[in-house]
Amino acid sequence: MSQTTMHRAETRTGAVVEFAGVSKRYGTHQALTEFDLTLQAGELVALLGPSGSGKTTALRVLAGLESCDDGRIQINGDDVSALPTSRRDMGMVFQSYSLFPHLSAGENVEFGLRMRRVPAVERRERAAAALALVGLDAHYGRFAHELSGGQQQRVALARALVTQPRVLLLDEPLSALDAKVRVQLRDQIRRIQTDLGITTLFVTHDQDEALAVADRVAVMRDGRIEQVGTPEELYTRPATPFIADFVGLSNRLPGVVRHGFAEVHGVVLPLLDPSHPDGAVRVFVRQEDLALAPAGLPGAGRADMSLAGTVLISSFLGSLRRTSVQLAQGGTVVVQHDVRERLQVGEAVSVRFSGAPVPVQAAS
């Protein structure tokens, strides 16, 4: 579709967005504290964090839906902090369904163009092209109540993109959808975003979502960014125990740091941060960094990297299996392993550590 090609060419280079020292307070609650973040042109950055961490506030401040108390926001070097929302040139998709109920899908998409006084004929063509982009060109005349949740969010995406905004803002657009649609739409958003090269800020509390689509993920906590990095960096080299705990699924085990190594029930593991001071710590070990073998089997591997235990419960998760093991030394660990390894509840097993470097947190 020629319209789509034109669309792509024009927005090929996205805008650079910069938050500099942005603060926002609601009464006594500090929602954002000295928030710094730069989005490179065409980059998709996910803001990830638990609820109340300030991620939605950051997005709303960028959209101009909330004012910031301090700091400034620049788009391509222009300070937009004082501009009203309507003049910031952004496209936004909301968490709740936000299509105008009195307009058809096509008219919804045309809305932004109408506001920009685009002539009717061109408006219609561009709206049709935008709907085609999200695969809904056959639904031009449908009203919101005639569309499924996933379709509504796709129309909302088309509506946000049709004006060729400088920045695309996605405020948990998938959280109201069911699991299967969520993954489809997630991948579709990523594909369209990459094709158009539009700078995108994606707010989510779902780490799978963030890790799957983002170029970089910024993990937030209490109004601050805890760590920014590629999904791989966050996963393999978490900067803080909070991230180690929040990203991925980890076991927390009591241990001791001695001479740059962590010791858990006698198993010695390398530290992610070897300069960590000696003392009692909590050790984070990922579920996939553990393996199971029936107790006493010669193939169980090095004895000094294993702990004995009994199977508590094992759940089948389709492509993998997750088993809880009661350790002989006390405490339980959860192990993620191949579905073909079937273990009986109560069976004696040995839990083997892969030896991957682990993050630790000083025990309080």
Partner: protein, 287 residues
Amino acid sequence: MSGGFRTTDGVAHAPSRLTRGLILGIVGLVFVVPILAMVEFTLRRGLVGGYDLHRWTELFQGGLTGEYKPVLVALGNSVGLAIGTVAIILLLLVPTMLLVHIRFPRLRRALEIICILPISIPAIVLVVGLAPVFSVVARLVGSGVWTLAFAYGITVLPFAYRAIQSNLDGVDVRTLSEAARTLGAGWGSVLLRVLVPNLRRGILAGAFIAVAVVLGEFTIASLLNRVNLQTALVVVSKNDPYTAVILSLIALFVAFLLLMAIGRLGAPRRASRRTPPPVPTPTGDRP
């Protein structure tokens, strides 16, 4: 077992067709009987007995232009007042409610109490307070009938407020207005192109009630010495009860037409606006 109710596994969930018809019939009678009685009354031939149309024909042959002309003027006054009151609702109440809903949600309780208050104050009490206010109003802008619209604006507040609020609660006004703003709409466009169309039902219901209340209002107009339809009808009825009833019937009919017209204005235009898809390709999933 069913006892007039449709049942699912013996549990009633809706009245049966018969029960519904009965309820509708009884309620309908309450409306129809007085109107039929009025019609019957105007057709009586007095002491002679029997019925004819002579009072109606006499009225239309000369009455309407002569001694009953004040009633026509009063009807005009009342229609004007209804329009004025609706204007107050549309231009003052609706924007205020939206502003409070979107920007100052903490004021919602206060606004609700203020708007509901007039229903607990009898018109006769309201007038005691309004009389000195209207003497000031009369000095400032004259004592035209239209000034009554200010008072009526207050008396219809509770009804209009409830009608609009119930619609407001069912629409995610906040998200819709934010979506419109991110798409480049200023506050004017947000209001006229997004909010009003989605609140049309509530706004219309509010306007309906305002019209109905104003056309039936007697106390305030009478005590403030203004002429509206109801006060004029009372004057006529003192001379000639038959003519007063005929005029009341006509007034009812006019009010009915007026309400129909407003309802027609607000009827959904969806069916005619549905546009066929420009490129009908079998992509996209079904809802």
